[in-house]
């Protein structure tokens, strides 16, 4: 059900991918320990488009379609950025505009600005072993909060779940020659939300407009080919809501459902040679199995550009082979 949440996660993944690629590529290109992140004062900004849709979904473990929804789709237009506070600490943000729609039935779609996401990404450890192998460890802290008063209790067409989230993520990466593998684990702490109803049933009745939102854990593994010019990777995602409850047969979904899924996808990134700092990203993803979510197919694409401030001009030589001359 949580297509927009899922879409958002992939957007997050996409922007991290972008940033991550920048950093690791830089690291690879550099021998200096202080040049492993996006260079200080560099600012990478881009626009992303994402499209996610599903026909089938799971009510608890029961997989079904719904002719009164047809295909439920989410389109997301995001602005995202990554700024090098220091070479080891990057600041990232994203703001999506979301549109939801069902192709069948009478339900009205929704649209609006969704959640502002902010991340701090820190690389405390980066090491080269031998001539061809580099590994690095990252810690990411994220914060997201709704920028508009959209209703979370309008699933499956809600723009999002409307919770304010804190995210902690640990990433490990290893690059050997032109190949790499990355694994990450994430914990998302969700705030309670308020909905426009003052009573609701989950597995018991609640006489309040406040909803206890379960936290979530997720893990990701990605691997592929990574050079200065190209990145091509496959990725696998696992996400598990800790707690929450199942949608019963033919019931409406609810923000505090127990939403789980595993998915697989691919991403590609290309850095232009003739326009240093310009890159294109694209990717696709498919939910293999889920619980209380739609079986989405997701595509996204975007364009990013790195601005170098006056200060960072001096670090051009080590900041980005990515945006190489």
């Amino acid at each position: 059900m949580r297509i927009t949440e899922r879409a958002k996660q992939y957007m997050v993944a996409a922007v991290l991918f972008t940033a991550f690629a920048l950093q690791v590529q830089t690291a690879k290109a550099q021998t200096d320990a202080d040049a492993i992140m996006m260079a200080k004062n560099n600012f990478c900004v881009g626009a992303m488009y994402g499209h996610s849709s599903w026909k089938n979904y799971w009510e608890g473990t029961f997989k079904r379609n719904n002719l009164n929804l047809g295909t439920v789709s989410t389109q997301m237009y995001s602005v995202m950025g990554n700024y090098g506070i220091t070479s080891k600490l990057n600041f990232l943000f994203g703001v999506p505009y979301v549109q939801t729609k069902a192709t069948a039935g009478t339900l009205h779609g929704d649209e609006g600005i969704q959640d502002l996401s902010l991340w701090l990404k820190w690389m405390p450890l980066e090491k080269k072993i031998g001539k061809k192998t580099i590994y690095a460890v990252y810690g990411v802290g994220g914060f997201s909060t709704p920028l508009s008063n959209y209703e979370g209790d309008y699933l499956p067409l809600a723009l999002g779940l409307h919770s304010t989230n804190l995210t902690g993520r640990i990433i490990g990466d290893i690059q050997h020659g032109d190949f790499f593998a990355t694994a990450s684990g994430t914990y998302t702490r969700r705030s309670n939300i308020t909905i426009n109803r003052d009573a609701y049933y989950t597995t018991s009745m609640h006489y309040t407009n406040e909803v206890d939102m379960p936290d979530a854990v997720s893990a990701q593994f990605r691997t592929g080919y990574r050079t200065n010019r190209w990145i091509a990777e496959a990725l696998f995602d696992y996400s598990n809501t800790i707690g929450g409850f199942d949608i019963r047969k033919n019931d409406m979904p609810f923000p505090s459902n127990n939403m789980d899924w595993t998915s697989a996808g691919v991403n590609v990134k290309y850095n232009f040679k003739k326009v240093p700092g310009l890159s294109l990203v694209g990717g696709g993803n498919y939910v293999l199995h889920g619980r209380n979510v739609g079986q989405s197919t997701m595509f996204n694409g975007g364009v990013f550009y790195i601005f170098r401030t006056a200060k960072s001009g001096t670090v051009a030589s080590h900041s980005c082979k990515l945006c190489a001359k």
Binding site: R64, L67, N68, I85, T86, K88, L89, A104, G105, T106, L107, H108, G109, L120, W122, G141, F143, N149, E151, D153, Y154, T164, L166, R189, R190, S191, N192, I195, N196, R197, D198, A199, Y200, Y201, S204, M205, H206, Y207, T208, E210, V211, D212, R248, K249, N250, D251, M252
Partner: protein, 519 residues
């Protein structure tokens, strides 16, 4: 950089602590104080009954004298419960002490919400129908949709009322004081609010017995759940010092007997014929088409049979079935081919194509759709939270809920009778470009159920708590409007007429209230 990192870490920690602390949720009625009635209504045994022919139709044997060994043994049982009480037991006493009518009403609303699920279709696109004869098979019985729920609230509340009137009659007649009055040790340890109300038979026991017995008819899959609540209430009431076992036993038996009268009525009130058959469903459409009108059709895929199309023939509580048809059912909506209907359809389209934040808020607040306690349940919740502030006695709580829920049940009957008599299409059927901002119910448009329920509820509640009358009516208007701006209903025909019909039904409840001896 270290400085930056340190300050960010601090900020994150503070944010985490903040988020961590704010997750506990308290319901509005979780921590209510114990019910301390301003008036124990000692003469409520004289109030007008709903169904019972006499207040003493069911005999309650005289209680044993309080100085005999048998009663002293019962006091010791209460003392035993009061010794070594766990926190959980104390919490249960506090929970029930807010009022047993209130808590049983909340449990009812919970069961309605739990069972308010439309059945999932069969492989061949037909729909299975819940069966009271086989309630555990999918789809479980009942599907507590709005008319079903309105009737369930109506029966339970009316039965609770008659049962408590009988209870009060015997209380005054036998006049056995509560254990907390008789025994000083129990009095000292009592958690119950001490009043002069006699304890034989126990009002909590009467409520437990009557409600549990009604649930066998209304929510047969929940008998075990209800019985656990009965046991919980019994232990809590005895441990609180409010009654001894013989108070309880006599009360529970009385409640169950009185329920049997209501259950017998329920089995013969035409509800069993409310679903109808394919031939009957088809004939509704044919008859409407023969009048030159566009007949309603289901907007679901696969098309779902109309919801309880013959619920309009159910026997009401506050008036007879002829009154439904001859007095309360409104005249026809504008013809589906008329300019007026087109104008009203365009008005709906105008609202749904530009939903405002305020409109979305009221649409969602009043949606009361699948998986909720339905609009009558919403009005029960509104009433309950106001009744709490009034410190009514249990019997007055029951009387007020009976007035409300008989009005809601009868509003459902009149509304459903109207819906299927005219079989009028929804706005989204007249203009498929109308996308609704909450789910479209699977029954005809004219007249709006929300409006009818709300008009009836606001009218009787405004009589019970006159200082809130204007507030209730503005809530009813908002509920009605939410269905217009949500794209579910036409304004002038469905919402406006629905409110009027609802108020007319509500006035029957007001008339009863004026003559039931409680005012």
């Amino acid at each position: 950089m270290k400085k930056i990192f340190f300050s960010l870490l601090t900020a994150t920690t503070i944010a985490l602590v903040y988020l961590g602390c704010s997750k506990d949720i308290h319901g509005r009625t979780d921590d209510l104080p114990a019910l301390n009635p301003v008036n124990i209504d000692i003469d409520a045994g004289l109030w007008k009954l709903v169904l019972l022919s006499r207040v003493d139709s069911f005999a309650v044997a005289a209680p044993a004298a309080t100085n005999l060994p048998g009663y002293l043994g019962e006091l010791n049982e209460v003392k035993g419960l009061q010794a070594n009480m766990t926190d959980d037991e104390k919490a249960k006493i506090r929970y029930w002490s807010a009022g047993a009518v209130l808590r049983w009403n909340e449990i009812m609303r919970e069961l309605v919400a739990k069972h308010n699920l439309p059945p999932y279709q069969n492989e061949d696109g037909t729909y299975p129908i819940p069966s009271g004869a086989n309630p555990f098979a999918y789809p479980q019985f009942p599907f507590s949709n709005p008319p079903y729920a309105a009737r369930a609230y109506g029966y339970v509340s009316a039965a609770q009322y008659d049962a408590l009137v009988a209870c009060w009659y015997y209380k005054k007649f036998y006049n056995r004081a509560a254990p907390y009055k008789i025994d000083s040790t129990i009095g000292a340890n009592a958690i119950a609010v001490k009043t002069d109300l006699p304890s034989y038979p126990s009002e909590q026991a009467v409520l437990a017995g009557v409600t549990a017995e009604m649930m066998k008819m209304l929510f047969p899959t929940e008998i075990a759940y209800i019985n656990a609540k009965v046991d919980e209430l019994q232990t809590a009431t005895m441990a609180s010092g409010a009654c001894v076992r013989s108070d309880w036993t006599a009360g529970e038996a009385l409640g169950r007997q009185i329920a049997s009268v209501f259950a017998a009525r329920g089995r013969a009130d035409n509800t069993s014929k409310a679903v109808g058959s394919q031939i009957q469903w088809d004939s509704l459409a044919t008859a409407t088409a023969a009048k030159g009108e566009i007949p309603w059709h289901s907007l679901e895929t696969p098309a779902r049979p109309p919801m309880l199309p013959f619920f309009g023939n159910v026997r009401p509580f506050l008036f007879d079935s002829l009154t439904v048809v001859n007095v309360l059912r409104p005249g026809p909506p504008p013809s589906t081919g008329s300019d007026e209907m087109k104008k009203q359809t365009d008005e709906v389209y105008g609202y749904t194509s530009n939903p405002t934040a305020d409109n979305l808020h009221i649409i969602q607040f009043w949606s009361d759709g699948v998986g909720t306690f339905t609009p009558p349940g919403h009005w029960n919740a509104i009433a309950a939270e106001d009744f709490v502030k009034e410190n009514f006695s249990e019997v007055r709580w029951a009387r007020n809920f009976a007035l409300l829920n008989m009005a809601e049940m009868d509003a459902a009957i009149v509304c459903w009778n109207t819906k299927y008599y005219y079989f009028n299409p929804r706005p989204s059927q007249m203009n498929p470009a109308i996308k609704t901002l909450t789910g479209v119910p699977n029954f005809p448009s004219y007249i709006s159920g929300h409006s009818t329920f709300s008009g009836a509820a606001a009218t009787i509640l405004g009589h019970i708590i006159p200082e809130r009358a204007d507030a209730y009516m503005s809530m009813a208007n908002e509920a009605a409007r939410s269905r217009l701006v949500g794209g579910l209903h036409y304004n002038a025909s469905d919402c406006v007429v629905g409110l009027t019909v609802g108020k007319n039904v509500g006035n029957y409840a007001v008339q009863r209230a004026l003559t039931d001896g409680a005012e």
